[in-house]
């Protein structure tokens, strides 16, 4: 499903050049649950962002289902992301001004479709995440665990085949963290490919395999 060839990412400031990724080549198959681990500033999040097409590599190739993604323009990438990739962030990244329902509905709006259909899907996924009773609330009225469940609901509402999770339990206590991991694991079992960046060995234990990064290179 995902294949990268010699992906490199260089950040340049006025004085220094930092190589965040150094010729990274990986392959992830459909239905896999992969954890990316490594110390801070090793390039984990950069790799995840490139896989999510939120950032473009300085060099190298990135194929998604055989299609070369790194050559796409901004508009093509926007279209590509819709319905293909869902995101879960450490800091949830919910829009404070929108209700839980509206936050989850957002990707469906961008995907297009009838309002009644959208409503059905949102309520269904909120039910699955056990948060439907909070549909009319604003994110700031929820606990961290609840907010992350909303974020996951938003990621899966379009039935996308790939979920990218950037330290999804980083801001949660252990009980809520475990709950979130259970949810992701459950999604994976239902066929969703999951790529997760984490510091936590315990969370990584949910994955089928672990990619270790150090100074922008894969070490194991």
């Amino acid at each position: 499903m995902i294949k990268t060839e010699n992906l490199s990412m260089v950040f340049t400031t006025e004085e220094v050049q930092t190589k965040a990724l150094n010729e990274v080549s990986i392959e992830i198959k459909q239905g896999e649950f992969v954890a990316i681990m490594g110390p801070s500033v090793c390039g984990k999040s950069t790799l995840l962002n490139i896989l999510g097409t939120l950032d473009s590599p300085t060099s190298g190739k990135y194929f998604f289902n055989g299609k070369e993604v790194d050559k796409m323009g901004e508009n093509q990438l926007t279209v590509f992301r819709k319905g293909n990739i869902g995101f879960v962030f450490q800091s949830f990244n919910l829009i404070d001004e929108l209700t839980v329902f509206e936050n989850v509905e957002l990707p469906l709006i961008y995907l297009g479709g009838r309002k009644s259909e959208r409503k059905r899907k949102v309520m269904e996924v909120l039910d699955r995440m056990n948060i439907a009773h909070r549909a009319g609330h604003f994110p700031q009225q929820l606990s961290g665990g609840q907010q992350q469940r909303v974020a996951i609901a938003r990621a899966v509402v379009t039935d996308c085949p790939l979920i990218l999770a950037d330290e999804p339990t980083g801001n949660l206590d252990s009980t809520n963290g475990a709950e979130v991991m259970e949810l992701l694991s459950e999604l994976n079992k239902q066929g969703t490919t999951i790529v997760m960046v984490t510091h936590s060995e315990r969370d990584a234990g949910f994955a089928h395999r672990i990619i270790h990064l150090l100074d922008g290179r894969i070490v194991s």
């Binding site: 999040s45 962002n49 999510g52 939120l54 950032d55 508009n75 926007t78 279209v79 992301r81 819709k82 319905g83 995101f87 962030f89 800091s91 990244n93 919910l94 829009i95 404070d96 001004e97 957002l106 990707p107 961008y110 995907l111 938003r154």
Partner: protein, 801 residues
């Protein structure tokens, strides 16, 4: 001291924002101060007199409930009779209403003077014009004496002594001599009276001093303390019957007392010479000044609130470490004070620089010595204090009411309350901008309409020469002069007349259908013309014909305008043809031979008035001060020189005075154009400052929404949908401002248009244009910032978060 250093540090921290804030506010305060100075000048007319109990008596003639004649003057007889028979009048003075220039000569110095009048010694009791030379009690007593102004003295005597000198005054029909007995300071700009020569009233032959049949004097009275003007008005109505001339027998004759301080801003009446102000314009300008101040303050408040939100953490820490509510408010007020003081100082600079331009442009020496007057500084101090409280109190209280922990968590930046306040402020600014933009379009439309209605293609080809002063054999010389001019190939017509387009005809005489009852008399303006006037100006004929020598002597023929036909009671213009009229000063009847369509003799501010054209020889005592010379092309300097040379051949001792009809017509609408310019400038300023505010608010609002944009992009939002999301609020606010501004503008502009007898119908497209313009300006202002945020890579945004 500790506070001040903190205030200055906080300003330094965001230097460019502080500069922007001060600049925007200073522009608004400067413009508002300029407008306020102008309004103050207009309101200050005649306030330098001790005129609390001084009124001008004005004549009002009614037929039933209809006001048929509305004159600023009274007859000569009013003042003595009222003073004699109505208790409560302490003193009166009469000032004659002169309407023609005189040639004034002293030795080899000769000028045409129009600023003169005959008046009584009490002039110096009722008015406060300081006498510089000569005793106050000796002035204007003897016949043929006069008081002149300083500048008139300089004009004739340079640095020589004026007292005792004798000047010759000549009209086309008379010559008089006056001895200078006193010199007064020039009458100030903010005086409704502007005379250079005050001639003694006793010079007028005794038999004509108290007559009732000519409404030829302005009458001023001072009432006894406690006496009400309405009492005098009622009392005059009661005695008016016994003084009515035949002409007024069937009219209801009243007077109205206009307070001296109100004369300048009341609507113009017949026989009023001075340029008048408009109370509606003053009201609109005052609203404009307040709107500009509010826009500036709102802007500053917006910026301050935005900065406070940004600095919420700093205030949170201050509060956490024990700063009291009072200390936080005090710091807020000091910051606002510093901002307002800097803006005020800069604004005074703007005023100092722009005032001379404004004066030249308005051709008015308003606000002279404003910086020295305590009133100005009170005004400036009020602006400073008002601004400091307006921009300092709300943000400070906003911060004191919120818990430190909330402030530090950044809740304030995203709070609904803060957002709502910003929206209200933007709507306020847009509302003011909308009213000003639509107002500019309405004023421009009205001025354009008036100019188009009164301009004629031929007016650029007409030169108007003033009639020469008295010389021997005048009528023969004038005929020869006319004939010689007409022989010049490029001259088409030459005409002598009592008025030209733009000039009030006045000379109201009573007329009635011949043989009808005396109660049928109507007051109609008598327009003295020669055979060439109507062919020269060619007003549209409704029916009948113009004067023509081919029909022999036409002295007993007249031509009416439609309004005169209506007033005289003829059922149609055609019906009036061939009818005979009885005019008050003539024995034999006059026959109507033609009717011209109603046209604008004066500016469009004036309604149509009844006009009767007659050949000037029929009533020789009605003056004909204008000689119109129409050419086959534009009047150039060579042609002017040739006309002048011809004039000097026939009238060697006369003063050659002339004007271009084009310039004269143009000058009719000068004050309207000025008003339009003020509107346009204020609109530009308002829009500019509102944009400044919008730009800064957008800057902060984009900061607050950048995370949302990132999330939306990650979830697949395209550029167009993001643009719509980020700007739809702006669209909503503009629509809201338009909806709220519409009734305000309609009321104000309709009120202004109503002050014109002829005006455009308030055009609704103006509001569409104003809305679209405002919309475009608003979008252009925010476009760059919105676009920048939309183009950010989503992960860059979320990483920064």
């Amino acid at each position: 001291m500790e506070y001040w250093s903190q205030v200055i540090k906080s300003q330094r921290a965001r230097k460019s924002l502080s500069v922007l804030n001060v600049f925007g506010l200073s522009v608004c305060i400067g413009a508002a101060l300029l407008i306020m100075l102008y309004v103050w000048f207009e309101l200050s007319f005649d306030s330098f007199h001790n005129g609390d109990r001084v009124y001008r008596v004005e004549s009002r003639l009614y037929e039933g409930a209809t006001l048929t004649d509305n004159w600023a003057t009274t007859s000569f007889g009013h003042a003595p009779a009222m003073s004699r028979e109505i208790p409560g009048i302490e003193q009166y003075v009469r000032v004659t209403a002169q309407d023609r220039g005189q040639e004034v000569t002293f030795g080899d110095r000769q000028f045409i003077e129009e600023q003169y009048c005959y008046t009584e010694p009490a002039f110096f009791e009722l008015f406060n014009f300081p006498i510089l030379k000569g005793g106050k009690s000796e002035q204007l007593i003897r016949p043929n004496t006069m008081v002149i102004t300083e500048s008139a003295a300089r004009r004739y005597f340079a640095d020589g002594e004026p007292i005792g000198k004798v000047l010759a005054f000549r009209t086309s029909s008379s010559e008089q001599h006056f001895e200078v007995t006193g010199v007064i300071a020039d009458m100030p700009y903010n005086s409704h009276l502007h005379y250079d020569f005050l001639l003694s009233f006793s010079t007028i032959p005794e038999a004509r001093r108290d007559i009732w049949y000519i409404h030829g004097v302005y009458t001023y009275i001072r009432l006894e303390p406690g006496k009400k003007p309405a009492d005098i008005e009622t009392a005059f109505h009661a005695i008016s019957g016994k003084y009515k001339t035949t002409a007024l027998k069937h009219k209801d004759w009243k007077v109205e007392l206009i307070h001296l301080y109100d004369i300048h801003l009341t609507p113009r009446k017949s026989y009023e010479k001075e340029g008048k102000g408009s109370s509606m314009a003053i009201r609109i300008l005052s609203v404009m000044a307040i709107a500009l101040l509010l826009i500036g303050w709102v802007n500053a408040l917006n910026l301050t609130v935005a900065r406070y939100l940004e600095r919420g953490r700093e205030f949170g820490i201050r509060k956490a470490f024990g700063a009291s509510r009072r200390q936080v408010v005090l710091q807020g007020l000091l910051e606002a004070g510093l901002l307002n003081l800097s803006a005020l100082i800069l604004a005074l600079g703007w005023v100092e620089v722009l005032l001379p331009f404004a004066r030249r442009w308005a051709e008015l020496d308003f606000a002279a010595g404003a910086f020295l007057s305590p009133e100005f500084w009170v005004m400036a101090a009020s602006v400073f204090i008002g601004g400091t409280l307006f921009t300092g109190l709300y943000p400070s209280f906003l911060l004191t009411r919120i818990r430190p922990a909330d402030i530090m968590r950044g809740k304030l930046l995203h709070s609904h309350k803060g957002n709502r306040m910003r929206k209200v402020l933007i709507v306020g600014q847009f509302l003011a901008s909308f009213v000003l933009i639509s107002g500019t379009l309405v004023v421009t439309g009205q001025v354009h309409y008036m100019q188009q209605e009164t301009s004629s293609v031929s007016s650029s080809r007409i030169l108007v020469v003033k009639y020469p002063a008295f010389t021997e054999g005048m009528s023969v010389k004038m005929e020869s002069f006319k004939k010689r001019l007409e022989q010049i190939p490029y001259i088409v017509h030459v005409s002598v007349s009592g008025a030209v387009p733009g000039v009030e005809v006045a000379n109201y005489f009573t007329n009635r259908p011949y043989g009808s009852d005396l109660s049928e008399v109507k007051l109609i303006q008598m327009f003295a013309v020669d055979y060439d006037y109507l062919p020269l100006y060619s007003p549209d004929m409704f029916c009948g014909r113009t004067f023509s020598e081919t029909y022999g002597n036409e002295r007993n023929k007249v031509i009416l305008n439609e309004e005169a036909v209506r007033q005289l009671g003829y059922s149609s213009p055609e019906k009036a043809l061939g009818e005979q009229l009885a005019m008050e000063v003539l024995e034999e009847p006059l026959e109507v031979i033609g009717v011209v369509k109603d046209y604008h003799q004066q500016s469009l501010a004036e309604p149509y008035k009844p006009i009767l054209f007659f050949l000037k020889e029929q009533v020789p005592f009605i003056a004909t001060p204008y000689i119109s010379v129409k050419m086959d092309g534009s009047v150039n300097s060579d042609r002017l020189a040739e006309v002048e040379q011809m004039y000097r051949t026939y009238f060697p001792s006369a003063f050659f005075s002339y004007f271009y009809l084009d310039d004269y017509s143009d000058s009719l609408y000068k004050s309207d154009r000025n008003f339009g310019w003020i509107f346009a400038s204020a609109s530009l300023l308002a829009v500019f400052v509102a944009c400044l505010g919008l730009w800064v608010v957008t800057l902060f609002s984009m900061l607050a929404r950048v995370k949302e944009v990132g999330i939306r992009k990650v979830l697949g939002a395209g550029k167009t949908s993001l643009f719509i999301i980020l700007t739809r609020e702006l669209l909503f606010l503009t629509v809201l401002a338009t909806i709220l501004g519409l009734p305000v503008s309609v009321v104000l502009m309709n009120g202004w248009l109503e002050s014109y007898a002829f005006h455009i119908v308030l055009p609704w497209w103006v509001y569409g244009v104003a809305f679209v313009l405002l919309m475009c300006i608003a979008f252009l202002t925010v476009l760059r910032q919105v676009w920048r945020v939309i183009r950010l890579k989503p992960m860059r945004i979320l990483r920064n978060e």
